[in-house]
Structures are given as C-alpha cells and as structure tokens.
C-alpha cells in the first residue's frame, strides 16, 4: 500500500467514524434509528479479497453433507465484550447447520486479533478451513469490532470489515458479524440479525395459556407482548418488524385480527366485521393486510389498505378460504381452500382474479407461504397425509415438491429472510405434550430446534433488522 493510499484510507475511516458517531448520538433518541448506527463504517483495505477463492460451499437435496469446519477463536481487545461477541458469532454459525465452528479446546491459538497475521499451520492442523479473527474495543461508549475472515488453506483474506455500535446493541453486532461471515462462506445472504415473534404456551392442554412473545432469533432478549388474559394466535411480522398482526379472543364476541405496535404496546382492531376475522398477513411492502373473514359458516379472503382502511373482498365462495400470503413482488396471493372438497393450495392475482389450484398431490395442502427470495419463487406449506403433518417447499406452480420436515405434527412455516430456511412448530401430541419451534433448510438436510421458554408455536421470522 502506498503512503498516498494509506493517507486517503485514514481520512476515509475518520469521516465514516464521525458519521457513525453522529448517527449513534441521534439514534439514542429512538429505537427505529438505532439500527443505523450498526451500519458498517469502514471496509478493511489492508488486504483486498482475492478473486480466486479455494473455499467452496455446496449443499444439495438428498446429498451427503458435512458442515464446513471453521475456527472462531476468541477475539482480542476488551475481554468481556470480545468473548461475548465471538461466542454469538460461533453460536449463530453453528445453528445455521451449514458451518461447524470447531471445539475451541482444540485450538492451538486461543485468541486471534483482526490485525494479526495468523499462523495458518495451526489451523490446518486441526482441520479448520476458515478462520474468523477479531478485535473488539470499547472507546467511550462506542463499541468497534474489526473482523477478518481467512481462507486457511490459501492464507488469503476473504473479507475484512469494521463495525461500530453502542453498548446496548452488542448482541446485534455479533449477529451482523456472523451474517457477514456466513454470507462469505456459503454465498447465501445472512439471516442472524433477525427476531422471532411466536406464541408461548403454558398450562394444561385443555386450558392452554398463550402469550405473544418476541425474541432475537437465538432466544436472547425474550419479551412478552401479551400477558395471557386473552387467547392469542398466529402472530405475523410486518416488514418493518415494528408491528405484529395476530388473532385474539377478546373478553366478548368473536375472535378478531389486531395489529400490535411492539414499540409502544398499542393495538388496533382491523375492520368491523360481525364474524370472526383470522389468518392475517402483511403485504411485502407493509401497506396492506390480507386476512380471512367468516360469515355464515364460510370464510373468505379480504385485503385492507392500512392507510385508508378500505377493504376489498378477494374470494367469494361457499367454502373455507384462508391462510393468504402475498408473493414477494405483491402481484399474487397464495391461499388454501376446500372449495374442491379438501384443503388445497390456490393462487390468485392480488385483485382476486385468476383463482386456480396449484397442488394436486396426495393429501391436504395448507398454509402456503411465499419465500422472500424472488429468484427462487418457492412456496412453503403444511402437508397432511396418512403418515403425518409435514413441512414442504415447492415452486409456486406446484412443481418440485420436497418435504423438508416430516413427523406426527409439523405446521405453520415461516421463511428466514434469505429464503434458505423455514421455521415451523412441531407437536408430539398426547396429554402432556406440547409444541416446540424448529427450522429446516430448503434442502431438508438441516433441522434445528429454536430456543424458547417452554412450549411454543406459530413462529414468525422477521426480515433482517437493518
């Protein structure tokens, strides 16, 4: 690096620091702005990524797969923060099922700083293919983390990046670093900087108490949004992640769809209908809500413009039409209907035109949910047949069906924002059994339980928080 480039780089870093600090100062005033402070503030220019990478990642349905072995030794710098952040990074990567952070007990070097030149022999010896090195510093309330990812076999840097935030966002900083590492190693977008809203369940099965609960995707920062007085079900995040649509049994009358503001706890009723309203889901841009309205034993799908509160009926059929979900571009809605005799998945244009059936396999198909990844156009669903309730994925035309989670009772898919994983709940049944939350990857290779307090169901995975 020439002196000129070094000087320009130093000036660049300094300017980004100033901007980040400014944002952080403003952000302290409101939650919605805090995420800005997490922006990457400097690209590490010391060693540019080499275009020729030795590491490749591949996972295919039905093929043998071994998670990529890597090393995440302790980060250097502030000891407590460094340990916390490196553990979050390692835990996220391990939970992904695609990457295997090796046991730190096997590491010959316990701590590797971002600015250090690693001894690669010490990492090839233990079988690590990549190495995450980091330095975390706390400078007057500003947390900075410099991170480098090394390809161990070639000794090439895969990326180097510096992050900054305030102390209350340390966990998110860990998730954002993990997202960057995961993305570089697998080629898929990250999904760790996310939250999950779900139904936390307690009490006997005949009188279950259900509360809406919100947590980071790894189970940290658990917070109850309702306290169990009302039966609450099927929460779904808005794209902004600040609002949750759900169904609640009020003290009197039919259960209804409400929208809850998670920041201030206020809730509003959606629409004035005499019958039950249920099965809400936001449009991808958050401007609309699609849901079912019951009338005289039939259920039909409505869409409401949340700004004008004008609703439009999309299906008009003497049958059950429910579980509507917009496509990522908002042009189509998938839903389930028993108009043909039993539950099957249908598609329609978002104005209700061109309603047509897309599933014709054996069994019942329910709860279609479009992948947020527009390139793959997958729909995740619940399939019920003689052997159980399964979670599957298929193309939106019904082709290429693949079961990714089999069992006695799996239900209610919700996509990770990168379109690689589907979260759902599973219930073993029986008098003392209860639901737990899991996620499977689209190939069906990975299946991981999500940490929840006790029984949990109806998970909804947020978009990336940034």
């Amino acid at each position: 690096m020439t002196a000129e480039i070094q000087r320009r780089y130093a000036a660049y870093v300094a300017s980004r620091y100033r901007r980040a600090r400014r944002i952080a100062g403003i952000a302290a005033l409101g939650e919605s702005l805090i995420r800005l402070a997490l922006a990457t503030i400097a690209v590490w220019l010391g060693l540019m990524s080499s275009p020729a990478l030795a590491l490749t990642f591949s996972i295919q349905p039905g093929q043998p797969f071994t998670p990529m072995p890597i090393a995440v030794p302790g980060f250097a710098g502030d000891p407590a923060l460094a340990a916390q952040i490196s553990q979050i990074v390692a835990n996220d990567l391990k939970l992904s099922g695609y990457i295997n952070p090796l046991d730190p007990a096997s590491y010959l070097d316990k701590v590797v700083a971002a600015e250090a030149s690693p001894n690669f022999n010490n990492w090839t010896t233990i079988g690590a293919q990549a190495l995450v090195a980091g330095t975390v510093q706390n400078q007057g309330g500003q947390i900075t983390a410099a991170v480098r990812l090394w390809d161990v076999s070639t000794g090439q840097q895969m990326f180097g990046q510096q992050f900054a935030t305030t102390p209350d966002n340390v966990r998110r900083l860990g998730h954002i670093i993990a997202d960057a590492v995961y993305s570089k190693l697998t080629g898929f977008k990250g999904f760790f900087d996310t939250r999950v809203v779900f139904v936390s369940e307690s009490g006997p099965k005949t009188q279950r108490i259900k509360k809406l609960a919100l947590m980071d995707w790894d189970g940290a920062n658990l917070r109850f949004l309702t306290q169990g007085q009302d039966l609450v079900l099927t929460p779904r995040f808005s794209p902004s992640t600040q609002q949750v649509a759900y169904m609640a049994y009020a003290q009197q009358g039919n259960p209804k769809v409400f929208i809850l503001n998670t920041a201030n706890g206020s809730r509003q009723l959606v629409g004035e209908y005499s019958g039950m309203t249920f099965s809400p889901r936001f449009s991808p841009d958050g401007s609309k809500l699609v849901f079912s309205v019951e009338h005289e034993g039939n259920s039909n799908i409505y869409v409401m413009d949340l700004a004008t509160r004008q609703a439009q009926q999309l299906t008009n059929d003497a049958s059950i039409n429910t579980s509507p979900c917009f496509s990522p571009d908002g042009s189509q809605i998938a839903f389930e209907s028993d108009r043909g005799g039993a539950q099957q998945i249908y598609l329609m244009n978002s104005d209700g035109s061109n309603q047509h059936r897309v599933t014709f396999g054996n069994g019942r198909y329910a709860t279609p949910v479009f992948s947020p990844d527009p390139e793959n156009a997958y729909i995740a669903f619940t399939k019920q047949d003689s052997t159980g309730f399964k979670i599957g994925v298929m193309k939106s035309d019904g082709s290429q069906e693949r079961i990714i989670a089999d069992g006695y009772h799996n239900e209610g898919p919700s996509w990770a924002p990168n379109g690689r994983y589907v979260m759902y709940f599973t219930d073993g049944g029986g008098a003392t059994g209860g639901a737990s939350v899991w996620f499977a990857d689209v190939t069906g290779t990975v299946n991981v339980q999500v940490k929840t307090p006790g029984f949990a169901s109806d998970p909804s995975w947020s978009p990336l928080l940034r």
Partner: protein
C-alpha cells in the same frame, strides 16, 4: 352398548359441570359431586340442560354435517330452550388437533353454524343465538387416539345466564 356409551358420556358431562361449579375440589371429588348433581339438577338450570338434555353434538372427521344422533340432541335442546326462554345461547364450534390451526378456526365455525342453523330451523329465534369458533384450541380430551379426537370434534351449546 350404545346406551352404555350414552350413560358414560352423561357422567363425563356432569363432571365438566361440577368442575365449573366446584373449583377447589380435586378430580375424583368432582366426578362424584357431578353424579349427585346429575340426579338433583333443578329443572331449567344449566345443569339440567347439560345432564338431562345434552349440551353437545359430535362430528366426523373434517365434516360439519349433523348426524342423526346429533339432530336428536339438537331436537331435545330446542324443546328445552323453548321451555326456558330466559337464556341466550352461544354455540361453540371445535375441531380436533389433526388439522392446521387456521383451517380449524374456519371448520369450528362451520360446525357451530350448522348447529345454530338447525336450532333456528326448530324454532329458536336467531336473535337468541350466537356462534364462536375455538378451532383446535380448547380440546376436552387429550390423547393421541381417535377416542379423544371424537370428543373434540364438537359443537357445544352454552347457556348465557347474565340476564
């Protein structure tokens, strides 16, 4: 055999009523108290309705069609409800756990509506009747067997006593 089944169900329902009345009693005491209540139920009381008329009808898998047995129970309900017009009624629709949650809300509603419409056809004023669906959220029997699922696929006629 059929009559035995009916008696057994009667005992069960009596237990349900008793547990609602005697919150602090333990399970076995509730069942016994329920039996005593069954014989002592005051005519026109909610216990009388549950024990001597039958407050619920059952459905086959994924169906909201009323069986002939269900119609018989609803016939007796309508006779009783006409004799005791002070009650308004909420028909609760329920589904078993072998279905997806949202579909089961709709299915429970369809069952409640089927029972409600039958009661109306037997002369109960529609203004006395409301419906609510609990989907699969409120099972009365919890096991992984058909014997439990059979009891959970139900429409329950609940008397509202606020007036």
């Amino acid at each position: 055999m059929l009559s035995e089944m009916r008696i057994w169900r009667g005992v069960q329902f009596a237990a349900v009523v008793a547990s609602a009345l005697a919150l602090s009693a333990c399970a076995s005491q509730q069942a016994q108290t329920g039996l005593e209540n069954a014989t002592q139920a005051t005519p026109g009381s909610p216990q009388d309705f549950v024990v001597n008329v039958g407050d619920r009808v059952f459905f086959t898998v994924d169906s909201s069609d009323l069986t002939s047995e269900a119609k018989g129970i609803l016939d007796r309900q309508s006779t009783w409800l006409q004799r005791y017009p002070r009650y308004t009624i909420t028909v609760e629709g329920h589904a078993d756990e072998r279905g997806t949650r949202e579909y089961n809300f709709a299915l429970g509603d369809r069952r409640a509506t089927a029972a409600r419409n039958y009661l109306i056809s037997r002369g109960i004023q529609s203004t006395r009747l409301k419906t609510i669906s609990y989907g699969k959220e409120r099972p009365v029997a919890v096991c992984e067997e058909e014997s439990c699922f059979n009891q959970n696929r139900r429409a329950v006629t609940v008397l509202n006593t606020q007036n």
